[in-house]
Protein backbone atom coordinates (compact mmCIF):
# COMPACT_ATOMS: atom_id res chain seq x y z
CA UNK A 1 0.00 0.00 0.00
CA UNK A 2 2.91 2.30 0.76
CA UNK A 3 3.83 2.09 -2.90
CA UNK A 4 0.51 3.57 -3.89
CA UNK A 5 0.83 6.44 -1.44
CA UNK A 6 3.99 7.48 -3.25
CA UNK A 7 2.24 7.74 -6.58
CA UNK A 8 -0.97 9.16 -5.16
CA UNK A 9 -0.43 12.65 -6.63
CA UNK A 10 0.33 11.00 -9.95
CA UNK A 11 -2.93 9.07 -9.74
CA UNK A 12 -4.83 12.26 -8.95
CA UNK A 13 -3.42 14.11 -11.94
CA UNK A 14 -3.78 11.11 -14.23
CA UNK A 15 -7.37 10.46 -13.21
CA UNK A 16 -8.09 14.16 -13.56
CA UNK A 17 -6.66 14.12 -17.07
CA UNK A 18 -8.76 11.14 -18.09
CA UNK A 19 -11.91 12.54 -16.51
CA UNK A 20 -11.37 15.87 -18.20
CA UNK A 21 -10.77 14.13 -21.51
CA UNK A 22 -14.06 12.29 -21.19
CA UNK A 23 -15.89 15.46 -20.17
CA UNK A 24 -14.34 17.19 -23.15
CA UNK A 25 -15.75 14.56 -25.47
CA UNK A 26 -19.21 15.06 -23.99
CA UNK A 27 -18.94 18.74 -24.87
CA UNK A 28 -20.80 20.03 -21.86
CA UNK A 29 -17.98 22.01 -20.29
CA UNK A 30 -17.54 25.71 -20.85
CA UNK A 31 -14.06 27.07 -21.43
CA UNK A 32 -13.77 28.94 -18.15
CA UNK A 33 -15.04 26.11 -16.01
CA UNK A 34 -12.56 23.67 -17.60
CA UNK A 35 -9.73 25.95 -16.58
CA UNK A 36 -11.11 26.22 -13.06
CA UNK A 37 -11.57 22.47 -12.79
CA UNK A 38 -8.05 21.83 -13.96
CA UNK A 39 -6.64 24.43 -11.56
CA UNK A 40 -8.60 22.67 -8.84
CA UNK A 41 -7.20 19.28 -9.80
CA UNK A 42 -3.65 20.59 -9.82
CA UNK A 43 -4.22 22.28 -6.46
CA UNK A 44 -5.62 19.07 -5.01
CA UNK A 45 -2.71 17.05 -6.39
CA UNK A 46 -0.34 19.65 -4.92
CA UNK A 47 -1.98 19.24 -1.52
CA UNK A 48 -1.75 15.46 -1.80
CA UNK A 49 1.92 15.69 -2.79
CA UNK A 50 2.52 18.00 0.15
CA UNK A 51 0.95 15.48 2.52
CA UNK A 52 2.98 12.67 0.99
CA UNK A 53 6.13 14.74 1.26
CA UNK A 54 5.69 15.55 4.93
CA UNK A 55 6.25 11.93 5.82
CA UNK A 56 9.58 11.82 4.00
CA UNK A 57 12.97 10.30 4.43
CA UNK A 58 16.13 11.03 2.53
CA UNK A 59 17.45 7.65 1.49
CA UNK A 60 18.63 7.86 -2.13
CA UNK A 61 17.16 4.51 -3.17
CA UNK A 62 13.97 4.23 -1.23
CA UNK A 63 12.29 2.09 -3.81
CA UNK A 64 8.71 1.33 -4.63
CA UNK A 65 7.03 -1.11 -7.02
CA UNK A 66 9.92 -3.54 -6.71
CA UNK A 67 12.58 -1.07 -7.72
CA UNK A 68 10.82 0.63 -10.60
CA UNK A 69 10.24 3.91 -8.79
CA UNK A 70 12.24 5.74 -6.22
CA UNK A 71 11.00 8.23 -3.69
CA UNK A 72 13.11 10.64 -1.71
CA UNK A 73 12.69 14.17 -0.50
CA UNK A 74 14.35 15.22 -3.73
CA UNK A 75 11.74 13.58 -5.95
CA UNK A 76 8.89 14.68 -3.75
CA UNK A 77 9.89 18.32 -3.84
CA UNK A 78 10.47 18.05 -7.57
CA UNK A 79 6.91 16.73 -7.77
CA UNK A 80 5.70 19.72 -5.79
CA UNK A 81 7.44 22.10 -8.19
CA UNK A 82 5.97 20.33 -11.19
CA UNK A 83 2.45 20.43 -9.81
CA UNK A 84 2.85 24.11 -8.95
CA UNK A 85 4.07 24.71 -12.51
CA UNK A 86 0.98 22.94 -13.79
CA UNK A 87 -1.23 25.03 -11.54
CA UNK A 88 0.22 28.34 -12.65
CA UNK A 89 0.34 27.25 -16.29
CA UNK A 90 -3.38 26.55 -16.08
CA UNK A 91 -3.86 30.05 -14.66
CA UNK A 92 -1.83 31.44 -17.54
CA UNK A 93 -3.89 29.39 -19.98
CA UNK A 94 -7.17 30.58 -18.50
CA UNK A 95 -6.18 34.21 -19.06
CA UNK A 96 -4.42 33.55 -22.32
CA UNK A 97 -7.48 31.95 -23.86
CA UNK A 98 -9.67 34.96 -23.12
CA UNK A 99 -7.54 36.77 -25.71
CA UNK A 100 -6.50 33.94 -28.02
CA UNK A 101 -9.29 31.80 -29.37
CA UNK A 102 -8.08 28.31 -30.00
CA UNK A 103 -8.86 26.64 -26.73
CA UNK A 104 -10.59 23.35 -26.15
CA UNK A 105 -10.87 21.31 -22.95
CA UNK A 106 -8.32 18.81 -24.22
CA UNK A 107 -5.66 21.45 -23.75
CA UNK A 108 -5.91 21.13 -19.99
CA UNK A 109 -6.21 17.39 -20.22
CA UNK A 110 -2.96 17.22 -22.16
CA UNK A 111 -1.37 19.52 -19.63
CA UNK A 112 -2.25 17.01 -16.93
CA UNK A 113 -1.01 14.07 -18.97
CA UNK A 114 2.28 15.90 -19.39
CA UNK A 115 2.36 16.61 -15.67
CA UNK A 116 1.75 12.96 -14.80
CA UNK A 117 4.55 11.99 -17.17
CA UNK A 118 6.83 14.46 -15.41
CA UNK A 119 5.88 13.17 -11.97
CA UNK A 120 6.66 9.64 -13.07
CA UNK A 121 9.91 10.87 -14.59
CA UNK A 122 11.11 12.36 -11.32
CA UNK A 123 10.46 9.07 -9.59
CA UNK A 124 11.78 6.75 -12.29
CA UNK A 125 14.47 4.41 -10.99
CA UNK A 126 14.59 2.16 -13.98
CA UNK A 127 15.42 2.85 -17.60
CA UNK A 128 12.25 1.48 -19.13
CA UNK A 129 10.00 3.36 -16.72
CA UNK A 130 12.13 6.37 -17.47
CA UNK A 131 11.61 6.01 -21.19
CA UNK A 132 7.88 5.50 -20.88
CA UNK A 133 7.44 8.51 -18.63
CA UNK A 134 9.69 10.56 -20.89
CA UNK A 135 7.43 9.70 -23.80
CA UNK A 136 4.21 10.34 -21.87
CA UNK A 137 5.53 13.78 -21.12
CA UNK A 138 6.98 14.47 -24.55
CA UNK A 139 3.99 13.32 -26.58
CA UNK A 140 1.65 15.55 -24.60
CA UNK A 141 4.04 18.46 -24.98
CA UNK A 142 4.38 17.93 -28.74
CA UNK A 143 0.62 18.22 -29.13
CA UNK A 144 0.48 21.24 -26.87
CA UNK A 145 3.21 23.06 -28.80
CA UNK A 146 1.29 22.72 -32.02
CA UNK A 147 -2.09 23.32 -30.47
CA UNK A 148 -2.94 26.37 -32.57
CA UNK A 149 -3.01 24.81 -35.99
CA UNK A 150 -3.93 28.01 -37.79
CA UNK A 151 -0.55 29.69 -37.42
CA UNK A 152 2.53 28.72 -39.36
CA UNK A 153 4.89 29.69 -36.54
CA UNK A 154 3.36 27.04 -34.29
CA UNK A 155 3.67 24.39 -36.97
CA UNK A 156 7.31 25.26 -37.43
CA UNK A 157 7.87 24.97 -33.69
CA UNK A 158 6.14 21.65 -33.34
CA UNK A 159 7.94 20.19 -36.34
CA UNK A 160 11.34 21.20 -34.99
CA UNK A 161 10.56 19.96 -31.54
CA UNK A 162 9.01 16.70 -32.71
CA UNK A 163 11.84 15.80 -35.07
CA UNK A 164 14.61 16.56 -32.60
CA UNK A 165 12.65 15.14 -29.69
CA UNK A 166 12.17 11.91 -31.58
CA UNK A 167 15.93 11.80 -32.13
CA UNK A 168 16.50 12.32 -28.43
CA UNK A 169 14.05 9.54 -27.65
CA UNK A 170 15.87 7.25 -30.06
CA UNK A 171 19.21 8.12 -28.47
CA UNK A 172 17.77 7.32 -25.09
CA UNK A 173 16.39 3.94 -26.15
CA UNK A 174 19.66 3.00 -27.76
CA UNK A 175 21.55 4.07 -24.66
CA UNK A 176 19.19 2.14 -22.39
CA UNK A 177 19.66 -0.97 -24.53
CA UNK A 178 23.44 -0.65 -24.35
CA UNK A 179 23.38 -0.12 -20.60
CA UNK A 180 21.20 -3.17 -20.22
CA UNK A 181 23.69 -5.08 -22.33
CA UNK A 182 26.57 -3.87 -20.21
CA UNK A 183 25.20 -4.02 -16.71
CA UNK A 184 22.55 -6.73 -17.15
CA UNK A 185 19.77 -4.70 -15.64
CA UNK A 186 17.72 -1.61 -16.27
CA UNK A 187 17.26 -0.80 -12.61
CA UNK A 188 19.36 2.00 -11.22
CA UNK A 189 20.02 0.14 -8.00
CA UNK A 190 21.30 -2.96 -9.81
CA UNK A 191 23.35 -0.95 -12.30
CA UNK A 192 24.89 0.82 -9.37
CA UNK A 193 25.64 -2.49 -7.70
CA UNK A 194 27.24 -3.77 -10.90
CA UNK A 195 29.38 -0.66 -11.24
CA UNK A 196 30.51 -0.97 -7.64
CA UNK A 197 32.29 -4.23 -8.46
CA UNK A 198 33.24 -3.57 -12.08
CA UNK A 199 35.13 -0.59 -13.37
CA UNK A 200 33.04 1.73 -15.49
CA UNK A 201 35.65 2.45 -18.12
CA UNK A 202 36.41 -1.20 -18.78
CA UNK A 203 33.01 -1.73 -20.39
CA UNK A 204 32.77 0.19 -23.68
CA UNK A 205 29.11 -0.74 -23.93
CA UNK A 206 28.35 1.03 -20.69
CA UNK A 207 30.35 4.07 -21.70
CA UNK A 208 28.49 4.33 -25.00
CA UNK A 209 25.15 3.68 -23.32
CA UNK A 210 25.56 6.32 -20.65
CA UNK A 211 26.82 8.77 -23.26
CA UNK A 212 23.66 8.30 -25.31
CA UNK A 213 21.40 8.60 -22.28
CA UNK A 214 23.17 11.78 -21.17
CA UNK A 215 22.87 13.17 -24.69
CA UNK A 216 19.12 12.61 -24.54
CA UNK A 217 18.91 14.42 -21.21
CA UNK A 218 21.07 17.27 -22.45
CA UNK A 219 18.83 17.62 -25.44
CA UNK A 220 15.71 17.85 -23.35
CA UNK A 221 17.18 20.54 -21.10
CA UNK A 222 18.63 22.39 -24.11
CA UNK A 223 22.25 22.23 -23.00
CA UNK A 224 25.08 23.43 -25.19
CA UNK A 225 25.49 21.27 -28.28
CA UNK A 226 21.77 20.55 -28.35
CA UNK A 227 20.35 23.99 -27.61
CA UNK A 228 19.59 25.18 -31.11
CA UNK A 229 15.92 24.19 -31.13
CA UNK A 230 14.92 25.91 -27.95
CA UNK A 231 14.55 29.51 -29.10
CA UNK A 232 12.28 28.78 -32.04
CA UNK A 233 10.22 26.23 -30.16
CA UNK A 234 9.64 28.41 -27.10
CA UNK A 235 8.80 31.30 -29.35
CA UNK A 236 6.40 29.31 -31.49
CA UNK A 237 4.59 27.51 -28.69
CA UNK A 238 1.53 29.11 -27.11
CA UNK A 239 2.42 31.14 -24.02
CA UNK A 240 1.08 28.75 -21.34
CA UNK A 241 2.86 25.85 -23.00
CA UNK A 242 6.12 27.76 -23.17
CA UNK A 243 5.86 28.49 -19.47
CA UNK A 244 5.10 24.88 -18.68
CA UNK A 245 7.90 23.58 -20.89
CA UNK A 246 10.47 25.98 -19.53
CA UNK A 247 9.75 25.05 -15.92
CA UNK A 248 8.03 21.67 -15.66
CA UNK A 249 10.04 19.80 -18.26
CA UNK A 250 13.29 21.23 -16.96
CA UNK A 251 12.43 20.24 -13.38
CA UNK A 252 11.49 16.70 -14.35
CA UNK A 253 14.52 16.13 -16.53
CA UNK A 254 16.98 17.57 -14.04
CA UNK A 255 15.46 15.46 -11.28
CA UNK A 256 15.95 12.26 -13.26
CA UNK A 257 19.30 13.45 -14.60
CA UNK A 258 20.54 13.89 -11.05
CA UNK A 259 19.13 10.51 -10.04
CA UNK A 260 20.98 8.97 -12.96
CA UNK A 261 24.30 10.73 -12.57
CA UNK A 262 24.68 9.80 -8.90
CA UNK A 263 24.40 6.11 -9.74
CA UNK A 264 28.09 5.51 -9.39
CA UNK A 265 31.08 7.59 -8.48
CA UNK A 266 33.24 6.15 -11.22
CA UNK A 267 30.67 6.84 -13.91
CA UNK A 268 30.05 10.33 -12.61
CA UNK A 269 33.78 10.96 -12.46
CA UNK A 270 34.11 10.18 -16.16
CA UNK A 271 31.25 12.36 -17.30
CA UNK A 272 31.84 15.25 -14.94
CA UNK A 273 34.92 16.25 -16.94
CA UNK A 274 32.76 16.64 -19.99
CA UNK A 275 29.78 18.13 -18.18
CA UNK A 276 32.18 20.83 -17.00
CA UNK A 277 32.65 22.01 -20.59
CA UNK A 278 28.98 21.50 -21.35
CA UNK A 279 28.08 23.76 -18.42
CA UNK A 280 30.50 26.49 -19.46
CA UNK A 281 29.51 26.48 -23.10
CA UNK A 282 25.82 26.27 -22.23
CA UNK A 283 26.02 29.38 -20.05
CA UNK A 284 27.95 31.46 -22.54
CA UNK A 285 26.13 30.29 -25.64
CA UNK A 286 22.83 31.03 -23.89
CA UNK A 287 24.03 34.49 -22.90
CA UNK A 288 25.22 35.28 -26.41
CA UNK A 289 21.89 34.21 -27.88
CA UNK A 290 19.87 36.05 -25.27
CA UNK A 291 21.73 39.34 -25.73
CA UNK A 292 20.78 39.42 -29.39
CA UNK A 293 17.05 38.91 -28.91
CA UNK A 294 14.44 41.62 -29.22
CA UNK A 295 11.51 39.34 -28.57
CA UNK A 296 10.70 38.72 -24.93
CA UNK A 297 9.75 35.07 -25.37
CA UNK A 298 12.89 34.37 -27.34
CA UNK A 299 14.95 36.12 -24.69
CA UNK A 300 13.37 34.00 -21.98
CA UNK A 301 14.03 30.87 -24.03
CA UNK A 302 17.67 31.77 -24.44
CA UNK A 303 17.99 32.63 -20.76
CA UNK A 304 16.51 29.20 -20.07
CA UNK A 305 19.65 27.79 -21.73
CA UNK A 306 21.77 29.82 -19.34
CA UNK A 307 19.85 28.49 -16.35
CA UNK A 308 20.35 24.96 -17.63
CA UNK A 309 24.03 25.77 -17.55
CA UNK A 310 23.87 26.74 -13.86
CA UNK A 311 21.97 23.57 -13.09
CA UNK A 312 24.64 21.52 -14.83
CA UNK A 313 27.19 23.21 -12.58
CA UNK A 314 25.11 21.93 -9.69
CA UNK A 315 25.15 18.47 -11.24
CA UNK A 316 28.90 18.59 -11.62
CA UNK A 317 29.21 19.51 -7.97
CA UNK A 318 26.88 16.91 -6.45
CA UNK A 319 28.43 14.10 -4.50
CA UNK A 320 27.35 10.53 -5.03
CA UNK A 321 27.51 9.88 -1.30
CA UNK A 322 24.52 11.14 0.68
CA UNK A 323 22.95 12.73 -2.33
CA UNK A 324 20.10 15.07 -1.44
CA UNK A 325 19.84 17.29 -4.49
CA UNK A 326 18.88 20.22 -2.30
CA UNK A 327 20.82 22.73 -4.37
CA UNK A 328 19.34 21.57 -7.65
CA UNK A 329 15.81 21.55 -6.36
CA UNK A 330 16.19 24.97 -4.75
CA UNK A 331 17.46 26.48 -7.97
CA UNK A 332 14.70 24.83 -9.96
CA UNK A 333 12.07 26.21 -7.60
CA UNK A 334 13.52 29.70 -7.80
CA UNK A 335 13.77 29.56 -11.57
CA UNK A 336 10.26 28.17 -11.93
CA UNK A 337 8.75 30.88 -9.73
CA UNK A 338 10.45 33.69 -11.64
CA UNK A 339 9.82 32.30 -15.11
CA UNK A 340 6.19 31.47 -14.49
CA UNK A 341 5.81 34.90 -12.93
CA UNK A 342 6.93 36.59 -16.14
CA UNK A 343 4.65 34.32 -18.14
CA UNK A 344 1.61 35.04 -15.97
CA UNK A 345 2.24 38.73 -16.49
CA UNK A 346 2.67 38.22 -20.22
CA UNK A 347 -0.56 36.25 -20.30
CA UNK A 348 -2.67 39.31 -19.64
CA UNK A 349 -0.33 41.91 -21.08
CA UNK A 350 0.28 40.03 -24.31
CA UNK A 351 -3.01 40.96 -25.86
CA UNK A 352 -4.79 39.33 -28.77
CA UNK A 353 -2.65 36.79 -30.67
CA UNK A 354 0.35 37.61 -28.48
CA UNK A 355 0.51 41.07 -29.96
CA UNK A 356 2.99 42.55 -27.48
CA UNK A 357 6.05 40.37 -27.53
CA UNK A 358 9.14 42.52 -27.95
CA UNK A 359 11.05 44.72 -25.52
CA UNK A 360 9.79 47.86 -27.23
CA UNK A 361 6.19 46.88 -26.67
CA UNK A 362 6.61 47.28 -22.92
CA UNK A 363 7.88 50.85 -23.00
CA UNK A 364 6.64 52.77 -20.00
CA UNK A 365 4.65 49.96 -18.47
CA UNK A 366 5.52 51.23 -15.01
CA UNK A 367 3.65 54.48 -15.62
CA UNK A 368 0.43 52.71 -16.62
CA UNK A 369 0.49 49.53 -14.57
CA UNK A 370 2.94 50.07 -11.72
CA UNK A 371 2.14 46.88 -9.83
CA UNK A 372 2.61 44.58 -12.79
CA UNK A 373 5.81 46.37 -13.71
CA UNK A 374 7.07 45.96 -10.16
CA UNK A 375 6.27 42.26 -10.23
CA UNK A 376 8.05 41.78 -13.54
CA UNK A 377 11.03 43.66 -12.14
CA UNK A 378 11.11 41.31 -9.17
CA UNK A 379 11.09 38.30 -11.49
CA UNK A 380 13.81 39.76 -13.67
CA UNK A 381 15.98 40.55 -10.67
CA UNK A 382 15.46 37.05 -9.36
CA UNK A 383 16.53 35.55 -12.67
CA UNK A 384 19.52 37.85 -12.82
CA UNK A 385 20.42 36.76 -9.31
CA UNK A 386 20.20 39.94 -7.25
CA UNK A 387 19.60 39.67 -3.50
CA UNK A 388 17.31 39.21 -1.63
CA UNK A 389 15.42 37.16 -4.23
CA UNK A 390 15.24 33.38 -4.57
CA UNK A 391 17.34 33.55 -7.72
CA UNK A 392 20.23 35.00 -5.77
CA UNK A 393 20.02 32.33 -3.11
CA UNK A 394 19.85 29.62 -5.73
CA UNK A 395 22.96 30.92 -7.49
CA UNK A 396 24.67 31.39 -4.15
CA UNK A 397 24.10 27.78 -3.17
CA UNK A 398 25.26 26.53 -6.56
CA UNK A 399 28.46 28.61 -6.46
CA UNK A 400 29.30 27.59 -2.89
CA UNK A 401 28.59 23.99 -3.80
CA UNK A 402 30.93 24.24 -6.78
CA UNK A 403 33.66 25.76 -4.62
CA UNK A 404 33.19 23.01 -2.07
CA UNK A 405 33.61 20.43 -4.84
CA UNK A 406 36.91 22.06 -5.90
CA UNK A 407 35.43 23.48 -9.08
CA UNK A 408 36.79 26.97 -8.60
CA UNK A 409 36.97 27.80 -12.27
CA UNK A 410 33.39 26.75 -12.77
CA UNK A 411 32.27 28.93 -9.87
CA UNK A 412 34.06 31.96 -11.30
CA UNK A 413 32.67 31.38 -14.78
CA UNK A 414 29.19 31.03 -13.28
CA UNK A 415 29.52 34.43 -11.64
CA UNK A 416 30.81 35.97 -14.88
CA UNK A 417 27.89 34.53 -16.79
CA UNK A 418 25.51 35.82 -14.15
CA UNK A 419 26.90 39.33 -14.59
CA UNK A 420 26.59 39.05 -18.35
CA UNK A 421 22.94 38.08 -18.05
CA UNK A 422 22.13 41.36 -16.27
CA UNK A 423 22.31 42.98 -19.67
CA UNK A 424 19.14 41.50 -21.06
CA UNK A 425 17.20 41.16 -17.82
CA UNK A 426 17.72 44.77 -16.85
CA UNK A 427 17.02 45.91 -20.38
CA UNK A 428 13.37 45.09 -19.86
CA UNK A 429 13.36 46.89 -16.52
CA UNK A 430 14.85 49.95 -18.19
CA UNK A 431 12.23 49.78 -20.92
CA UNK A 432 9.45 49.66 -18.36
CA UNK A 433 10.68 52.41 -16.06
CA UNK A 434 12.68 54.89 -18.10
CA UNK A 435 10.62 55.20 -21.30
CA UNK A 436 7.41 57.06 -21.94
CA UNK A 437 4.31 54.90 -22.45
CA UNK A 438 2.96 54.71 -25.98
CA UNK A 439 -0.24 52.86 -25.20
CA UNK A 440 -2.58 52.18 -22.33
CA UNK A 441 -2.03 48.39 -21.95
CA UNK A 442 -5.72 47.65 -21.77
CA UNK A 443 -6.54 44.19 -20.54
CA UNK A 444 -9.79 42.59 -21.56
CA UNK A 445 -11.70 40.07 -19.52
CA UNK A 446 -11.63 39.14 -15.86
CA UNK A 447 -8.93 36.56 -15.32
CA UNK A 448 -6.78 34.72 -12.85
CA UNK A 449 -3.32 35.53 -14.13
CA UNK A 450 -2.86 38.78 -12.11
CA UNK A 451 -3.54 36.75 -8.97
CA UNK A 452 -0.90 34.25 -10.11
CA UNK A 453 1.57 37.06 -10.71
CA UNK A 454 1.02 38.34 -7.20
CA UNK A 455 1.39 34.94 -5.59
CA UNK A 456 4.57 34.21 -7.53
CA UNK A 457 6.07 37.63 -6.75
CA UNK A 458 5.56 36.89 -3.07
CA UNK A 459 6.90 33.37 -3.44
CA UNK A 460 10.08 34.60 -5.12
CA UNK A 461 10.93 36.18 -1.78
CA UNK A 462 9.45 33.36 0.25
CA UNK A 463 11.59 30.74 -1.50
CA UNK A 464 14.60 33.01 -1.07
CA UNK A 465 14.17 33.04 2.68
CA UNK A 466 13.51 29.33 2.91
CA UNK A 467 16.56 27.75 4.47
CA UNK A 468 18.03 24.88 2.63
CA UNK A 469 19.80 22.14 4.48
CA UNK A 470 22.70 21.22 2.32
Amino acid sequence: MLDFIIILPLLVVGAGAIALMLLASMENLSEGSTALVSIGIFAFAFAVQLMVSVSGNVAPYETAFSGMLTASTFTKVAGLIILACGLFSCMIAQTYFTQNKFSSPEFYSLMMFAASGMLLLTMAAELITLFISLEIMSLAIYVLVGYDRSRIKRSEAVLKYLMLGAFAGAFFTMGAALIYGGAGSTRFALISKYLATNSFLESPVLVAGTLLVIVAFLFKVAAFPFHAWVVDVYDGAPLPVTGFMATGVKTAIFAVFANFIVLDNGMKGVWVDYLFYVAVFTMFAGNLIAIGQNNLKRMLAASGIVHSGYLIIALVAVGTENFTGGVIIFYLAAYAAATLGVFTALAYLGGTDERRDSFDDFKGLAKVRPYTAAAITIFMLSMAGIPPTAGFMGKFYIITDAIRADQMLLAVLGIVSSILSMWYYLRLVIMMYFKEPEESFEVSGVSLAPVGTMILAVSVFAIGFYPVFL
Binding site: I18, L22, S25
Partner: protein, 119 residues
Protein backbone atom coordinates in the same frame (compact mmCIF):
# COMPACT_ATOMS: atom_id res chain seq x y z
CA UNK B 1 17.60 -25.23 -33.90
CA UNK B 2 14.80 -27.35 -32.58
CA UNK B 3 13.16 -30.09 -34.60
CA UNK B 4 9.87 -28.22 -34.54
CA UNK B 5 11.41 -25.17 -36.06
CA UNK B 6 13.00 -27.25 -38.81
CA UNK B 7 9.70 -28.88 -39.59
CA UNK B 8 7.80 -25.62 -39.63
CA UNK B 9 10.30 -23.93 -41.85
CA UNK B 10 10.45 -26.86 -44.24
CA UNK B 11 6.67 -26.81 -44.53
CA UNK B 12 6.77 -23.08 -45.04
CA UNK B 13 9.31 -23.23 -47.82
CA UNK B 14 7.65 -26.28 -49.30
CA UNK B 15 4.56 -24.16 -49.67
CA UNK B 16 6.64 -21.38 -51.13
CA UNK B 17 7.51 -23.73 -53.96
CA UNK B 18 4.25 -25.56 -54.50
CA UNK B 19 1.83 -22.63 -54.64
CA UNK B 20 3.78 -20.64 -57.24
CA UNK B 21 4.08 -23.84 -59.27
CA UNK B 22 0.29 -24.18 -59.26
CA UNK B 23 0.02 -20.62 -60.41
CA UNK B 24 2.66 -20.95 -63.08
CA UNK B 25 0.96 -24.01 -64.57
CA UNK B 26 -1.16 -21.51 -66.46
CA UNK B 27 1.94 -20.19 -68.14
CA UNK B 28 2.44 -23.68 -69.55
CA UNK B 29 -1.14 -24.47 -70.48
CA UNK B 30 -2.56 -21.03 -71.17
CA UNK B 31 -2.42 -19.00 -74.36
CA UNK B 32 -0.15 -16.01 -74.71
CA UNK B 33 -1.44 -12.89 -76.37
CA UNK B 34 -1.15 -9.16 -75.81
CA UNK B 35 -2.41 -5.86 -77.14
CA UNK B 36 -3.13 -2.34 -76.04
CA UNK B 37 -6.69 -3.03 -74.91
CA UNK B 38 -5.65 -6.15 -73.06
CA UNK B 39 -2.98 -4.30 -71.11
CA UNK B 40 -5.35 -1.56 -70.00
CA UNK B 41 -6.75 -1.49 -66.51
CA UNK B 42 -10.29 -2.81 -66.27
CA UNK B 43 -13.10 -0.34 -66.68
CA UNK B 44 -16.71 -1.40 -66.78
CA UNK B 45 -17.47 -1.28 -70.46
CA UNK B 46 -16.09 2.19 -71.16
CA UNK B 47 -13.33 2.44 -73.72
CA UNK B 48 -10.89 4.62 -71.80
CA UNK B 49 -10.05 4.21 -68.15
CA UNK B 50 -11.77 6.82 -65.99
CA UNK B 51 -10.01 8.09 -62.90
CA UNK B 52 -6.72 7.22 -61.37
CA UNK B 53 -5.74 4.28 -59.22
CA UNK B 54 -3.72 6.46 -56.86
CA UNK B 55 -6.61 8.60 -55.73
CA UNK B 56 -6.93 9.97 -52.24
CA UNK B 57 -8.89 8.14 -49.59
CA UNK B 58 -10.80 9.47 -46.65
CA UNK B 59 -8.48 10.19 -43.76
CA UNK B 60 -10.78 8.03 -41.65
CA UNK B 61 -9.18 4.93 -43.11
CA UNK B 62 -5.80 6.03 -41.80
CA UNK B 63 -7.32 6.77 -38.40
CA UNK B 64 -8.81 3.29 -38.43
CA UNK B 65 -5.41 1.83 -39.17
CA UNK B 66 -3.84 3.68 -36.25
CA UNK B 67 -6.66 2.70 -33.90
CA UNK B 68 -6.25 -0.87 -35.02
CA UNK B 69 -2.60 -0.82 -34.13
CA UNK B 70 -3.40 0.41 -30.63
CA UNK B 71 -6.17 -2.05 -29.94
CA UNK B 72 -4.48 -4.99 -31.57
CA UNK B 73 -1.35 -4.58 -29.51
CA UNK B 74 -3.38 -4.16 -26.34
CA UNK B 75 -5.32 -7.31 -27.14
CA UNK B 76 -2.11 -9.26 -27.65
CA UNK B 77 -0.87 -7.98 -24.29
CA UNK B 78 -3.86 -9.62 -22.68
CA UNK B 79 -3.07 -13.14 -23.89
CA UNK B 80 -0.22 -13.91 -21.49
CA UNK B 81 -2.30 -12.42 -18.71
CA UNK B 82 -5.26 -14.62 -19.66
CA UNK B 83 -3.13 -17.75 -19.58
CA UNK B 84 -1.96 -17.09 -16.05
CA UNK B 85 -5.05 -15.45 -14.59
CA UNK B 86 -5.74 -18.30 -12.20
CA UNK B 87 -2.33 -17.99 -10.60
CA UNK B 88 -2.22 -14.21 -10.57
CA UNK B 89 -4.55 -13.53 -7.68
CA UNK B 90 -6.81 -10.58 -7.14
CA UNK B 91 -4.15 -7.96 -7.75
CA UNK B 92 -3.38 -9.23 -11.23
CA UNK B 93 -7.05 -9.21 -12.04
CA UNK B 94 -7.59 -5.66 -10.78
CA UNK B 95 -4.59 -4.40 -12.70
CA UNK B 96 -6.04 -5.72 -15.92
CA UNK B 97 -9.44 -4.27 -15.04
CA UNK B 98 -7.80 -0.86 -14.80
CA UNK B 99 -6.01 -1.46 -18.08
CA UNK B 100 -9.17 -2.50 -19.90
CA UNK B 101 -11.16 0.37 -18.42
CA UNK B 102 -8.52 2.80 -19.66
CA UNK B 103 -8.77 1.20 -23.07
CA UNK B 104 -12.54 1.58 -22.98
CA UNK B 105 -12.18 5.20 -21.93
CA UNK B 106 -10.04 5.81 -24.96
CA UNK B 107 -12.61 4.14 -27.15
CA UNK B 108 -15.44 6.19 -25.65
CA UNK B 109 -13.44 9.36 -26.27
CA UNK B 110 -12.86 8.38 -29.88
CA UNK B 111 -16.51 7.54 -30.43
CA UNK B 112 -17.77 10.68 -28.75
CA UNK B 113 -15.39 12.84 -30.74
CA UNK B 114 -16.96 11.42 -33.87
CA UNK B 115 -13.77 9.94 -35.30
CA UNK B 116 -15.81 7.02 -36.56
CA UNK B 117 -18.84 8.97 -37.78
CA UNK B 118 -18.87 8.59 -41.51
CA UNK B 119 -20.30 11.21 -43.84
Amino acid sequence: MSAELVLSSVIFFGLAVIIPVIMLLTAVFGPRSGGVAKNDAYESGIKHVVGMADQKFSVKFYLLAILFLIFDIEAVFMYPWAVSLRELGMFGFLEMVVFILLLLTGLIYILKKGVLNWR
